[in-house]
């Protein structure tokens, strides 16, 4: 309304008809009383009233304008000419809207700094404006002029815009524009609506239209143009627009504010130098301050300024500004910002409840505001409301409309990882999994960002997060129990960062050392531990002391693993001299004693430690272990049950130990009467129950899983059931059980890479008659884990090879069986059962070869097994005669075996004879073949010789002919020369030369040819020879295998004979040179 152009700067009021009073509009009396009297007296038209009111308003005398308008209404109503009132009402409405502009949108009842309680809210003014509009409309309607009219529409539109009824406002403005397409007010209104609807392009166009229609239009459309350009990312142009606006209207605050904000934003980019940043920031601050002074009720300016004070630490001012922002904010974004700032101020000044309130308001307004959610979550965490904090952050990053906020994700992950009261262990595990997922996501986001920006984390936040040692340590902790690889990665990252920062945490180094240690990189581990010890000295004394104790313990463990037992012993002693109650060190000492087979010393130490540390679970577990391994399962059983009963009935280790003891007892119970069987079965059942309980408590317990698998594989529960299923079924059942157990073992192997797993897998394959795979598994166990020193594994290998030999009728396999049996006995000579097995294998090898076809065996092997079987006879005799009280085999059966051996060996001669006959025949066939080949060879050689002789004779003949021809030629030449001498005396040389050429050519060519032929012929014959030799060899190859072998053997012998003398020679040479050296 105030931008209507006036033709002159005065207004004439007609009084009583003739008298005209001219009011100079440029010199209005701030007090409108005189003017009012004048107006009332003058019965002026509406135009004059509004004109004057408008003029007062323009000068800022809003109240005067309002009085004029109110008087106008009174005046017109008393005249009864209400029909001319609508413009007045519109004016009034506009005046109210103008009031509203300066009024707070929201009044904080408990504002601390910016108290507005006495003021009226925007709402109030809008309501009055609405009333006026309605009155105006009614007046218009009563007077019959209808509701129309540009003015009414515009006013309505403005009111609607102010109250954010965008669609209605749009309709109002469009209505006006339909009539007057260049109505600036309507255009500006429309542009603002378009802008609010983020239709920046259209809004820009409309703003530009406005500017074109009236370059001096206020409010300045350049502000709008700038905003649109900014939103469309033409920042420089936007800045130009605002600067231009500032030039045109130097007092206008919005341009200043916008420019100020722009400068402040610009100061935050990394592309400019520090000085430039400082400069930009200062300029920006000044502009914002000026804008705020120009309009201290602008929420945006207050907001921007608040940030400054917040940074300066001026919390009082900051809070006032924040509260102002909140109270005057006309958009949600600003409102939220205001709340956030207020929250931050409150947070910074320590009033958590206040801050919580503000943050909550912010989040309620904008549930997806990152800073708000983080702030609220922080407050909730401070208040100990972890669940609420997690919920807040979850809401932020979960759909709908999930926010990609790394910092919030990190916080959430960290919260989730924390142990909270009232959370069950299974929930906690889940939380850990979720936490890890979140950290993973963060990691990926950071990587993506890095990839996008080419190696540099784009924002400070991401950078800060990526370089957060604590975060990496936390990630490491989360992986600790499940994935050492990931843990190692996280720790190494943390170490890298902290090293780059120049301060390494000894704990970090130690942990990485532990990881290396666990992976078996002992040298790296040692370096890490030593480094850790060094950097621990930098800590405070008490801390350093605590710390170096732990590291020293780790180092001692390392020494143990390196086989440096003495160093380890010293280290443990040192530890115990400092901390006599260091149970772990004592346990290790006991373990070292146990390893050295000093069981009594170990036992004493353990008992002594237990006396003071009765409750120590580790110690109890180790003592259980010790008792079982030192062969006192009964004591162990009692001890385990005491542990379970009196200390911790959920102790997984004790449960497993109890299960094992039950299993072992039952298995060792060889009594076969029904009562004992019943007992045995119950033992197995109890064992299974204990394993089951252990698994319930720790589903990842590989030991319990393996124990159960063993029970399954052996069908310990089923096979001793009173009603046993008959043969075939039982076999199938066994296969089935083994299959099931194998599945479990395969899984166990993934988490517990230990020889026992392979050993058990071997058993399962053996039970399934898959001997090759059984052997493979046993061999892995023996070689990779037991260094070939585990007698039971060696015996299982022996058994598997033996079974394979029986199945495949394989002599090679039975030899392997014998080899493993002897290896086992060699390690543990005190086991007569192995000797029995050896005798058995010796006898069986003869039985085996006796049943094999002559062509599949050799005389040497046959002789060997017969010798073996003969030796077995002696062994069986000795075994059967053993008078020891207990023998680990059946003496009677040994006797039977011996008798059986006698009858077996009776056939030996026959077999030997057969074999000899067969081999002699084969040999003679072979000899015959060789003879034939030799003859053939000789025949061919003879032919070849004859041919060569022929060739030689031929060549001689040719040579003779050539000689004759040459002589002939010489003769001719001589004759010719005489002729030419006669003919051409003057030039004797010339003809001589060509003639000589001709002659040599004549002579040479045939020579060459012949020679060529000869040469060709010679190699050809050689080649023939070669080919023949090759051919004959090929023949040999094609002949039956037996022959080849014999031939090869012959050849090899030759070779060896060939080689040996050479070697001898060589050696003696070496010797000689050595003596030389000594002499010199």
């Amino acid at each position: 309304m105030d931008d209507t152009a006036f033709p002159g700067r005065s207004v004439d009021i007609e009084l009583g008809g003739q008298e005209v009073i001219t009011i100079d509009l440029d010199n209005l009396d701030p007090n409108p009383d005189d003017v009012l009297d004048l107006l009332k007296d003058g019965q002026c038209t509406v135009f004059v009233w509004t004109k004057l009111a408008g003029e007062y308003w323009r000068r800022g005398y809003l109240e005067a304008a309002e009085r004029i308008a109110n008087s106008a209404i009174e005046s017109f109503q008393s005249n009864g000419s209400t029909s001319s009132l609508p413009p007045i009402y519109s004016l009034l409405a506009n005046i109210q809207i103008a009031y509203a502009r300066k009024a707070p949108k929201l009044i904080l009842k408990d504002a601390q700094q910016d108290i507005m309680v006495s003021e009226k809210s925007k709402e109030y003014y809008y309501n009055i404006a609405a009333q006026h509009l309605n009155l105006g409309e009614r007046a218009g309607a009563e007077s019959g002029e209808g509701v129309g009219g540009t003015l009414a529409f515009l006013t309505r539109g403005i009111q609607q815009l102010a109250t954010r009824s965008m669609d209605d406002a749009m309709r109002s403005f469009e209505g006006v524009l339909a009539v007057k397409p260049t109505n600036l007010v309507a255009l500006l209104g429309k542009a603002r609506i378009l802008y609010a609807r983020r239709n920046f392009r259209e809004a820009l166009r409309v703003f530009q239209d406005v500017l074109r229609y009236n370059p001096n239009c206020t409010p300045d459309p350049r502000i709008g143009i700038g905003l649109c350009l900014w939103a469309m990312d033409h920042k420089a142009k936007a800045k130009e627009a605002w600067q231009r606006s500032l030039e045109v209207n130097p007092s206008e605050w919005s341009a200043q504010l916008l420019l100020g904000l722009e400068e402040i934003n610009a100061s935050k980019t990394d592309q400019i130098s520090e000085d430039e940043k400082k400069h930009a920031f200062l300029t920006g601050t000044k502009l914002v301050e000026r804008a705020f002074h120009a309009n201290n009720r602008s929420a945006a300016a207050a907001n921007a300024l608040c940030e400054l004070f917040l940074r300066k630490g001026n919390h009082t001012r900051a809070l006032k500004l924040a509260e102002r922002t909140i109270q005057f904010a006309d958009t949600l974004a600003i409102l939220t910002e205001g709340y956030l700032r207020a929250g931050r101020v409150a947070h910074a000044s320590g009033s958590v409840s206040q801050a919580t309130k503000f943050y909550t308001s912010a989040v309620e307004g904008q549930p997806k505001n990152i800073a708000g959610a983080i702030g609220l979550a922080q407050m909730q965490a401070l208040n100990g409301e972890m669940a609420a904090a997690i919920h807040t952050l979850d809401t932020l990053i979960q759909p709908p409309n999930p926010q990609r906020a790394i910092e919030a994700t990190v916080m959430l992950a960290s919260f989730r990882a924390q142990v909270r009261p009232g959370v069950s262990s299974s929930d906690l595990t889940q939380e850990k999994v979720r936490s890890r997922e979140l950290f993973d996501r963060v990691g990926k986001d950071l990587e993506l960002e890095e990839a996008r920006t080419g190696g540099h984390p784009s924002s400070k936040i991401s950078h800060g997060i990526a370089e957060d040692v604590e975060m990496h340590v936390e990630i490491a902790r989360l992986w600790q129990e499940e994935n050492l690889d990931r843990m190692g990665k996280a720790l190494k990252e943390a170490l890298k960062i902290s090293q780059a920062a120049g301060k390494t945490d000894p704990r970090l180094i130690n942990n990485i050392g532990v990881l290396h240690h666990l992976e078996g990189n002992l040298l790296e581990a040692q370096t890490m531990y030593e480094n850790s010890l060094i950097s621990a000295t930098a800590l405070a004394t008490e801390e350093a002391e605590r710390w170096s104790t732990t590291v020293l313990y780790n180092l001692a463990r390392l020494y143990e693993d390196e086989g440096e037992d003495n160093l380890a012993k010293d280290a443990y002693e040192k530890l115990l001299s400092r901390h006599p109650e260091y149970t772990d060190a004592k346990i290790r000492q006991a373990q070292m004693l146990t390893k050295a087979n000093r069981l009594n010393d170990a036992h004493d130490l353990l008992k002594q430690t237990l006396a003071t540390q009765k409750e120590n679970a580790e110690l109890r577990a180790f003592y259980t272990y010790f008792l079982i391994h030192s062969g006192s399962p009964k004591v162990a059983k009692e001890f385990v049950f005491t542990t379970l009963k009196e200390h911790d009935k959920h102790d997984v280790y004790s449960l497993c130990a109890a299960a094992w003891i039950h299993y072992h007892q039952s298995r060792e119970n060889r009594d076969t009467n029904p009562k004992a069987l019943e007992e045995k079965k119950r033992g197995f059942q109890r064992s299974a129950e204990f394993y089951d309980r252990a698994l319930q408590l720790d589903p990842m317990c590989a030991f319990a899983a393996q124990g159960l698998a063993i029970i399954t594989a052996e069908d310990s529960l089923g096979s001793i059931a009173p009603t046993r299923t008959p043969g075939v079924d039982e076999g199938r059942k066994r296969l089935q059980n083994a299959r099931e157990a194998l599945d479990i073992f395969a899984k166990v192997r993934e988490s517990n890479n230990d020889g026992s797993v392979y050993f058990n897998i071997g058993h399962c394959y053996y039970a399934r008659d898959e001997f090759d795979r059984a052997i493979e598994s046993y061999e892995t166990a023996s070689e990779r884990f037991y260094n070939g020193q585990n007698v039971p594994v060696l015996l299982c290998l022996c058994r598997s090879w033996y079974a394979k030999a029986m199945k495949d009728q394989s002599y090679v396999a039975i030899k392997s069986a014998l080899k493993y049996a002897q290896a086992a006995l060699h390690i543990y000579p005190n086991d007569r059962a192995i000797l029995y097995n050896i005798a058995m294998i010796q006898q069986k090898s003869a039985e085996l070869l006796f049943s094999v076809k002559v062509s599949k065996r050799t005389l040497t092997d046959l002789q060997r097994v017969i010798d073996s079987a003969a030796n077995a006879q002696k062994l069986f005799a000795s075994l059967a005669a053993d008078k020891s009280a207990v023998v680990p085999y059946d003496r009677e059966i040994a006797g039977h075996r011996r008798k059986y051996g006698d009858s077996l060996l009776r056939k030996a001669e026959e077999h030997l004879a057969n074999q000899r006959k067969f081999e002699t025949e084969t040999q003679s066939r072979l000899d015959a073949a060789r003879q034939r080949r030799q003859e053939e060879k000789e025949r061919i050689e003879a032919l070849e010789r004859a041919r060569l002789e022929e060739q030689r004779i031929e060549a001689e003949k040719l040579a003779e002919e050539r000689r004759l021809a040459r002589e002939q030629a010489m003769e001719w030449t001589r004759e010719a020369r005489i002729e030419s001498d006669e003919e051409k005396e003057r030039r004797p040389k010339k003809p001589k030369k060509p003639k000589a050429d001709v002659v040599s050519g004549d002579e040479g060519e045939p020579k060459k040819k012949r020679r060529g032929k000869l040469k060709k012929a010679e190699p050809a014959s050689e080649q023939d020879d070669d080919e023949q030799a090759m051919f004959s060899e090929e023949e040999g190859v094609e002949k039956p295998a037996k022959k080849r072998i014999t031939k090869k053997r012959v050849v090899r012998d030759d070779d060896e004979e060939d080689v040996n003398p050479r070697k001898k020679q060589f050696k003696s040479k070496e010797m000689l040179s050595d003596t030389d050296e000594e002499m010199s």
Binding site: G563, D565, N566, K595, A596, N597, R598, N787, G788, Q789, K819, Q822, A823, L825, H826, P829, N830, L835, I838, Q842, R864, D867, S868, N871, K874, L875, A877, S878, A881, D882, K883, N1060, K1063, K1064, K1067, E1070, M1071, D1074, T1075, E1077, E1078
Partner: protein
């Protein structure tokens, strides 16, 4: 200090299974016994069968586990895994005595596990399951006949036994780590050493018969002085990371030697109590033996080793001649 030992050469015809015993004789030959049941004699100079083209005793059907050679290098005594003891005349290649120790004759007889021949070659000692030492005749006409029984008093399996070079003592070690020293003349137990708590698989005397070196599954070698009070462990050598399978002392008494299941050979300076050389092999080193001839001054001497791959290897100190 460290010494370097160079690989001189291998035997020309390896055994078909692990070599479980080797001995370098005074006549510069080497004897090896194997898990394949065979026994062989080699020329130490070139590593070829000695004498050339001679036939060795017929291989037994079971493994040979123990070997002992007379100081003059004229006879080799060896014993198989089940207790077949044989005496081999190295001069003419004949087996001059065999004894099936596992055939029960009296209550005291038992299968021999480890054997050791008296320096005179008149008798030999054996040990086995009873934990006693049995003295047998080593004369061809009465080979194997039991002469005496020396009781350790503890029925723990005897893993190794060895006559002292002066023939006056016998050392025996058990599966539980005790070492017993018997006086031959009085047939009495002199000392018991309890320096190990795990099986002792190998024993070696110093040339002066004063020191005894033991190698155990506890990964340590312990040096004992049999002149001093009982139980006197003079020194302990650690460094092997697995069982020690075999040990020996050099003819000058200065260097110890050990072969281990950790697949390495170590040479120890007895005076300095430290390892002076470590040789990495490819398999378990079941047996080691010094060359009995005292080396030239400044030379550390030479030794042989036998291991899992069936090969006998000759090693010589760097700087010393091959012969």
């Amino acid at each position: 200090m460290s010494l370097a030992f160079l690989h001189a050469h291998d035997c020309s015809e390896p055994h078909s299974d692990a070599v479980w015993g080797v001995a370098w004789t005074a006549k510069d030959t080497a004897i090896s016994i194997s898990a394949d049941g065979s026994v062989k004699q080699w020329s130490s100079i070139v590593g070829q069968p000695h004498p050339p083209n001679a036939a060795f005793p017929t291989p037994h059907t079971l493994a040979q586990v123990s070997l002992s050679v007379t100081p003059d290098g004229s006879k080799a005594l060896y014993n198989s895994i089940e207790g077949l003891t044989s005496l081999w005349n190295l001069e003419n290649g004949e087996v001059i005595g065999t004894f099936e120790s596992f055939t029960k004759k009296t209550d005291e007889s038992e299968p021999s596990w480890a054997v050791s021949i008296h320096p005179s070659g008149e008798t030999y000692a054996s040990t086995g399951a009873s934990g006693n030492v049995l003295i047998h005749s080593a004369k061809p006409e009465s080979f194997g006949e039991r002469r005496t029984t020396l009781s350790s008093g503890r029925p723990k399996f005897g893993m190794a036994c060895a006559y002292s070079p002066d023939g006056r003592r016998i050392a025996m070690s058990s599966e539980t780590g005790q070492i017993y020293i018997f006086d031959v003349e009085s047939s009495a137990l002199s000392f018991t050493f309890t320096s190990h708590a795990m099986s002792v698989r190998s024993l070696a005397w110093s040339p002066d018969s004063n020191l005894l070196l033991s190698g155990s599954e506890d990964k340590r070698l312990v040096l004992h002085d049999v002149r001093s009070a009982p139980g006197a462990a003079v020194a302990s050598f650690s460094g092997h990371t697995s069982w020690i399978l075999s040990t020996d002392i050099s003819p000058d008494g200065r260097l110890g030697l050990s072969g281990s299941a950790d697949k390495s050979i170590k040479v120890w300076d007895i005076g300095a109590r430290a390892a002076v050389s470590t040789i990495q092999d490819t398999g378990e080193v079941w047996s080691v033996s010094w060359r009995p001839k005292v080396p030239a001054v400044g030379s550390p001497g030479a030794f042989i080793s036998g291991g899992e791959d069936g090969v006998v290897r000759w090693w010589r100190g760097a700087g010393s001649g091959g012969s």
